[in-house]
């Protein structure tokens, strides 16, 4: 099954690196959307079908924590799984985000294999020998 994936990060470098990592890892992608902050992400989430969100924490305009909270308040998008991709992943913050419904956390720098592992796990993709 091919996924519609939304990347949310204010750094165009990170969005490019995650995009390449997803392709290198062989993640089955239908459409790849990009947003530079939480507000842009909300607009895309409310307009498009998104299967999974990969999101940074620290961003201008609207940060990742606020995005996750606003998604949780919106019944149309509150079931879309969110994975945090960040370097500011202290244990208290990760726990706070998990309590808000975030499904997993990827620490930067990451490998394509780690991205694949998390996407497969969150989306329930089973491995075939």
């Amino acid at each position: 099954m091919a996924f519609n994936i939304l990347l949310v990060d204010d750094s165009v470098t990170v969005r490019s690196v995650i995009s390449k990592a997803l392709h290198l890892a062989g993640v089955d992608i239908n459409l790849l959307y990009q947003a530079a902050n939480g507000l842009e992400a909300l607009e895309i989430l409310e307009a498009e079908w998104i299967d999974i969100v990969l999101c940074d924490i620290s961003m201008p305009v609207m940060d990742g924590e606020t995005l996750v909270r606003k998604m949780g308040e919106n019944g149309m998008i509150n079931s879309i799984p969110v994975v945090i991709v960040s370097s500011a992943g202290s244990e208290p913050r990760i726990q706070r985000l998990r309590d808000m419904g975030v499904r997993d956390y990827i620490q930067k720098p990451f490998t394509p294999e780690r991205i694949r592992e998390v996407v497969d796990s969150v989306m329930g993709v089973t491995k075939h020998a």
């Binding site: 204010d10 750094s11 165009v12 470098t13 990170v14 490019s16 690196v17 390449k20 924490i57 620290s58 201008p60 960040s86 370097s87 500011a88 992943g89 202290s90 244990e91 208290p92 913050r93 930067k108 720098p109």
Partner: protein
């Protein structure tokens, strides 16, 4: 105590840079090598929470494109690497900052990172950084890079 922090920051910096850019480095005597009239780019980022302060990095401008190209998996001559170089330097600082804070304050520290601010480093700023003990020198594949950590 200060020696332990310096050692921890140095090891963390070198490890993250290697993982992110595939560039190898080592601690260097900043005073012996730095050309303060050289063309350097300065990136700075504030952090707040259980620990507050600023992390800064000064990198020779030629090296910034190389860093960007390595992060993006491109050749330095490719246009995308050049145009994305400041953003890539900011992202490298972002990743270093997160790891450095956890190295000095522990994984249980609660903190937030600001947005990186990128611009040219003036000769006066570089000269001051050479004298300032809050700044460390590293040789990153023949490029002298300065890392400054100031905590409140």
């Amino acid at each position: 105590m200060r020696d332990q922090i310096v050692e921890s920051v140095s090891a963390t910096f070198l490890q993250v840079v290697e993982q992110l850019t595939y560039m190898f480095g080592e601690p260097a005597d900043k005073g012996d090598i730095l050309d303060v009239d050289g063309d350097y780019i300065l990136a700075q980022m504030g952090f707040t929470g259980d620990v507050n302060g600023t992390l800064s990095i000064a990198v020779p401008s030629d090296c910034v494109a190389e860093i960007a190209a390595n992060i993006l998996g491109l050749e330095p001559e490719e246009m995308e690497a050049s145009s994305m170089a400041p953003d890539s330097l900011g992202e490298m600082l972002n990743v270093i900052c997160g790891h450095v804070i956890m190295a000095i304050a522990g994984k249980g520290a609660d903190f937030g990172l600001g947005s990186p601010v990128i611009g040219p480093a003036t000769p006066a700023f570089l000269a001051q950084a050479v004298e300032d003990s809050d700044w460390l020198g590293f040789l990153l594949e023949e490029n002298l890079v300065l890392l400054g950590l100031v905590t409140e």
